[in-house]
């Protein structure tokens, strides 16, 4: 079998490019037939919009259409970089994303370590089932819950006033918006994100623990010197990947939660993109496209940098 393959391959290599292509198409015609609808999809719904990015460099008016709108070069980008909003958006995007990483990234690791110490498997499975659950709650429901509980006479006010605080509408107060955002993020993702760490934990050699016990290490020392080092490669990879999407803030959630009183702390590039175009009475399509193009390009740059770093440090990269 292997020998006949080698003969076929040698024969194949001698063919001219034109014959090669013809042969490839007749050999793999069903494979190409399968991928055809996918290509049509990609062109219609992914690449055609990319062609539409040109309106970021044009003064686009819906009435004129894309082709007839005049080119304006980098006008919208200059306009945006000189806009006082620019710094607010940059600050908010990095702050919200940074806080989410700072508190949201370690949370599932801690949960996985705690679950790992549970000896009773039934209890462990119950905790897992319960903590994975919020992941499947839709964003609209999550934000509805937040809104209901954070209103002036809602549950949060009740609890705070029990401890001597003041009742107020928490979602309207700019001081609390980011806290609410981050806490609800952790609430929804902690269990689900711990799955991958638990899988890595199950791969740690159990003999190491026995050896450590014989040497007199207590539970905490075992966690510190065996479990955590065992998790470190997984943590490194996930952290690098997370840094690659640092500008990807959950804008759908912000759109559902923010209001004019909290724009100052909540507005990020993607929400601004929406608000000045589809959410506005006089849409600024060109400016909006320029803002989102800027966001995408910075994202890709971050991803390439972190991917490069990850390839250097952990020998595992995306491409």
């Amino acid at each position: 079998m292997a020998k006949s393959n080698a003969v076929i391959n040698a024969h194949y290599k001698r063919l001219s490019p034109g014959k090669k292509i013809a042969r490839d198409f007749s050999h793999n015609k069903y494979k190409y037939l399968m991928i055809l609808p996918v290509l049509v999809y990609l062109i219609l719904f992914c690449y055609k919009p990319m062609y539409g990015i040109q309106i970021a460099f044009k003064n686009f008016k819906v009435t004129r259409g894309m082709a007839k709108s005049p080119w304006v070069g980098l006008y919208w980008f200059e306009h945006f970089f000189n806009d006082p909003y620019f710094w607010r958006l940059l600050r908010n995007t990095f702050t919200i994303s940074g806080l989410t990483i700072l508190f949201g990234f370690p949370a599932p690791i801690v949960l996985a370590l705690m679950l790992n110490e549970v000896r009773n498997s039934k209890f462990k499975r119950t905790v897992q089932t319960i903590t994975y659950m919020p992941y499947f709650i839709s964003l609209v429901v999550l934000c509805s819950l937040i809104k209901i509980y954070c209103q002036q006479y809602g549950l949060v006010s009740d609890i705070v006033s029990f401890f001597g605080g003041v009742k107020q509408n928490w979602l309207q107060d700019p001081r609390y918006f980011r806290i609410i955002y981050v806490i609800s993020d952790i609430w929804q993702g902690i269990g689900w994100n711990s799955i991958i760490y638990l899988a890595a934990l199950s791969g740690i050699d159990q003999e190491q623990y026995e050896a450590a016990r014989i040497d007199g290490a207590n539970r905490f020392q075992q966690m510190l010197h065996i479990t955590l080092p065992g998790l470190l490669p997984t943590i490194t990879i996930l952290f690098i990947l997370r840094m690659g999407s640092i500008l990807n803030v959950g804008y759908e959630k912000i759109l559902l939660l923010y209001q004019p009183t909290t724009y100052e702390v909540a507005d990020v590039f993607s929400t601004y993109t929406y608000r000045i175009s589809l959410g506005a009475t006089t849409p600024q399509y060109s400016l909006s496209t320029a803002v989102s193009l800027f966001n995408t390009v910075v994202n890709v740059v971050f991803l390439l940098i972190t991917n490069f770093l990850s390839g250097r440090t952990t020998e595992s990269s995306l491409f």
Partner: protein, 300 residues
């Protein structure tokens, strides 16, 4: 494993016992924090509105038990049309998603295809770069999909991430199986449906769930692509009732005194009605979800 745990328990020190107890207490507290917001919602949905507005604080069981919130919710004409629309979207898109994803996965897993690197690059590229909100929106409008349910179905026909999961599963099938099928005269289309698909059924289950949950939970596309209220899926109806306080309610609220009262009464019951379908099936499918994370993680 159980034996090891057993011997461990015998030798357990006081410190270790304290550690176990504190750990368990913290985990139980975490479960409480996770469940309580949902439980409160369930309890409040069965409690009379008059009680809710008069009393505050933590509730564990319904007071003044009533199902009127649910009965009222179902008089809301848009709630029913919301369920109908999301069902249409699910029934049409999920099979489409699965077929295209399996085709893509099969293509990406195959060898000796001349144009594969080019097509693979075309597919992967869309993961990192896209047209952005406005060009995508204008494109949907130009294609004539604006204000039709197709705008919710077609643009998300393929998720590249899910295609990678599918490819990984197909790659794990021994190549000799395909070769023997070729010898028996089967072409690739026959192989996909008769050989590959049955062999990767567990992965297909994961993909059905991922796509299905994705469609069920999505709200943003419908909010920008759909104009008519009776075309909106359930999440958007929820949003207008609970978050946006929009005028969608006025029509339905004419029989009650005030829009606020109406919204106040049905907000908990609508949350429960949209969450329950997902949360009910979830514990049974948990292992598939978890499996999906693992497959994705291998490539991610």
């Amino acid at each position: 494993m159980t034996k090891a745990a057993h011997t461990n328990r015998i030798r357990e020190s006081t410190g270790s016992k304290v550690f176990n107890v504190i750990n368990a207490i913290l985990l139980i507290f975490l479960c409480f924090l996770t469940l309580y917001p949902i439980w409160y919602c369930l309890v409040a949905s069965f409690t009379a509105t008059s009680y809710l507005s008069a009393h505050q604080g933590i509730m564990f069981i319904p007071h003044m038990f009533t199902t009127s919130a649910y009965r009222l919710a179902f008089t809301h004409p848009l709630l029913l049309s919301g369920y109908r629309n999301i069902l249409i979207v699910l029934v049409v898109s999920v099979p489409l998603n699965i077929i295209l994803t399996v085709f893509t996965g099969y293509f990406l897993a195959s060898r000796d295809v001349l144009l594969k690197p080019v097509i693979q690059f075309m597919i992967m590229f869309t993961m990192f770069f896209n047209g952005g909100m406005i060009p995508t929106f204008l494109n949907i409008r130009d294609l004539g999909l604006y204000n039709t349910l197709w705008a919710l179905i077609l643009p998300g026909a393929i998720s590249v991430y899910n295609c990678i999961i599918c490819r990984t599963a197909i790659q794990s099938i021994p190549a000799s199986l395909n070769e023997s099928a070729y010898l028996d005269g089967a072409n690739d289309l026959v192989i996909v449906f008769r050989l590959t698909l049955p062999l990767i059924m567990p992965t297909i289950a994961v993909l059905v769930l991922y796509y299905g949950i994705g469609h069920w939970n999505a709200w943003f596309p419908a909010s920008i692509y759909l104009q008519d209220n009776d075309k909106l899926p359930i999440q958007n109806i929820m949003r207008s009732i609970l978050i946006a306080n929009s005028n969608l309610l006025n029509a339905a609220a004419s029989e009650t005194d005030k829009v606020d009262d109406f919204a106040e009464t049905i907000k908990y019951s609508t949350i429960i009605l949209t969450t329950v379908p997902v949360l009910c099936i979830y514990p049974f499918l948990q292992k598939y979800f978890v499996k999906g994370v693992m497959i994705g993680a291998v490539k991610g």
